[in-house]
Every structure is written in structure tokens, then in C-alpha cells.
Symmetry: C2
Subunit: 197 residues, 2 copies
């Protein structure tokens, strides 16, 4: 006879299906959860349902929000003439945390990746083009990997002829990084992008 | 203006309060959860509430169960004359997985630890003593750390005069372990516990 506590096994299974949570971690979490105060566990469960129900995509930029239009797009103090194009909403979170950008964003929802069958039509490029008439500059902030670069080059060629300034975020040795341990491609980028002092 | 999505921040906060889940992991999980199908998220939330509501302690051994008496204690095919004393219910899970023991268990609910203010009266020792009349042997399977050893010694002194056989699980070099990297205390235990071949 195998020894299984049904509700515990079910909870463990659910937790183990989350990304980055393995079987052991799921079991540890499940044991923690069943020793929680019922009110606390209900609050955790409630926050899951509430988040799934209320968080949606911003109708303007595609960012995550619990409103119709996200707090960035509806913020009149931000510069709506400069648009930062990112792969997904998590990138916005990172940039907002760093407080490096005061314009508005546009989420592509992915990057061009023929290997995964993702072409330009699968991204929010049509929506991006429709925003261009009100924009002076587009900053392409896709990741510095193959797909991100390809997407940036594609968007650059698409947008430039429309008379809008297009720029790409700088790649190079990260602050606090060590030249000795920096990969070749990053070193190459840091030389290509060198500036007069 | 800081940029926060209230339901997402609440969910992230809840997840980050779980053991071993840091801020970054909580955020990653929260992002995954909000992209789940609503039914799937509801199922996850439901399993949390269900587990907290239905899982309780076995009235006999203190193991976790969704019944009045756990499936091990109510299993007539097991040997009820040999009792394995463990620190908590997770230890039972490990032993059952390894299929090394066919008797029944007793969960102490902790180990004696004066530093943390946990004395014998805080453990389920009274309940253990009340089970002894039906038992031939007690195997002490607390962890081989300071508190576990102290608890084992305490229980041994308490139970032996009652005429019940008391044993302690063996400590030594783990199977697949390497002598070179084994700590001194484990090596000492493995010599103390050596057996004729």
C-alpha cells in the first residue's frame, strides 16, 4: 500500500507545475502551507484568484495592468513622444525599478524567432506602427541575444523610412563587471560602442 | 509616482512569504500565475484551501492525514508492535518512500532544544508513553544532530526502565558518500558503529 494524503499530494502536484519549483521544493511549500493559519492560506489562495481575474493587458502598450489603460500610459507627466519597445512586461518592471526612462513603453509580446515559428505577425508590431504618428523617437530595448537583435534590426528597417528616429540601447561590459570574465561578443559590442571622452 | 499593479504586488508578497521563495522567484511565479488559464489558477487556489482545511494530525501517531487516524496507523498489515519515533511528519514521508520500515510511527513534533526553549513537555512524549504497553520495540529515528541526539538519549533513559527494547538508527558514511569529504563526526560514528563481517 502506498502512503498518500490526497489533498497534500494534490497541492504538491499543483505547486510542482509552477516554473522553477521542483518536487522537493513543492513538498516543502505544501508542508508549510498546511501548517498556515486558515485565514492566511485563504488570503494566499484569494490573491491568486484575484490576480488572475483582475490583471490584463494595457489597451495601449500591452503592459500588465489592473486598469483598462496602465498607469504608465495614463501618466500625463511622462514623455509620450518617446517610445521604448520591449519584449515583455517584465522588462518594463526592471526599467521602472531602475528609473532610467521617463517615456512610455510598447510591449511586443515576444521576439522574432523562426526556430520557434514566431514571425513579425505574431508580435504587436501593427499596434506599434499605429502609435508612431504621435512619437518622435523609438528606443529598441529588446534583449541583446540573437532573436532580440534580429527583432531590433527588423523594426529599425520598418520604422526608419517613416521618418521617426530609431535608437538601440547600448550593449557592453556591465557596471561592476570584469573584463577578464566578459564574453567575446560583449567585449566586441563594448568596442563597437566606444565613445569619445 | 511608483509603478505598482496592486493585485500582482499582493500575490508576489504572499508568495515571497513562503519559505525558500525570494523576491525574484516570487515575481517570476506571480507572472506565471497571472498568465494561467483562470480555471487552472482556481484549481491551484482551491487546492491550497482544501489542503489547509482537510489535513490534520493523526489522533494516534501525530502524522499528517485527512482522516481521523492516518492510513499507516489504520493499516492492519503493518507491525504495530514496533514503533519508530521521528521528529516530524516529513520524516515519515521519507521513510515510507524508501520502504525501509513496516512498523508504525510516533511523531514528536520537534526535538528537545533548550536554546529555543523547547523542553520535553513541549513534545508528544506523554502520548508516546501511553502507547508503550502495546509495543515491543521503540526505534529512535531523530536526526543525528545535537538536538536529535539529546532527545534520543532522553527518550532512551525514559523508556528502557519500562522494559521496552529501545534502539537507535545507525549513523555513518552515507551510501555513495566519499570518505575524503565526510565530516569528522560522521566518520567517528561510522567507526563506533562498525560491525563484524
Amino acid at each position: 500500500m502506498s502512503y498518500i494524503i490526497e489533498p497534500l499530494a494534490k497541492l504538491t502536484g499543483h505547486l510542482a507545475s509552477l516554473p522553477g519549483i521542483g518536487g522537493k521544493t513543492a513538498q516543502r511549500l505544501a508542508y508549510h502551507i498546511i501548517t498556515m493559519a486558515p485565514a492566511e492560506a485563504q488570503s494566499l489562495a484569494g490573491s491568486i484568484v484575484e490576480a488572475v481575474d483582475s490583471v490584463r493587458y494595457c489597451a495601449v502598450c500591452g503592459n500588465l495592468t489592473d486598469q483598462e489603460v496602465c498607469s504608465i500610459c495614463s501618466d500625463a507627466t511622462r514623455d509620450h513622444s518617446i517610445l521604448c519597445v520591449v519584449k515583455d512586461a517584465r522588462d518594463i518592471m526592471a526599467m521602472e525599478r531602475a528609473r532610467v526612462f521617463r517615456g512610455v513603453y510598447h510591449v511586443l509580446g515576444g521576439t522574432i524567432s523562426p526556430m520557434d515559428g514566431i514571425g513579425p505577425d505574431d508580435l504587436r508590431i501593427k499596434e506599434l506602427l499605429s502609435r508612431l504618428p504621435e512619437v518622435n523617437e523609438v528606443v529598441l530595448a529588446t534583449n541583446p541575444d540573437v532573436e532580440g537583435e534580429a527583432t531590433a534590426i527588423y523594426l529599425g528597417r520598418l520604422i526608419k523610412p517613416l521618418g521617426v528616429k530609431v535608437s538601440r540601447i547600448a550593449h557592453g561590459v556591465p557596471v561592476g563587471g570584469d573584463l577578464e570574465y566578459t564574453d567575446d561578443m560583449t567585449l566586441l559590442k563594448s568596442f563597437e560602442g566606444r565613445r569619445d571622452m
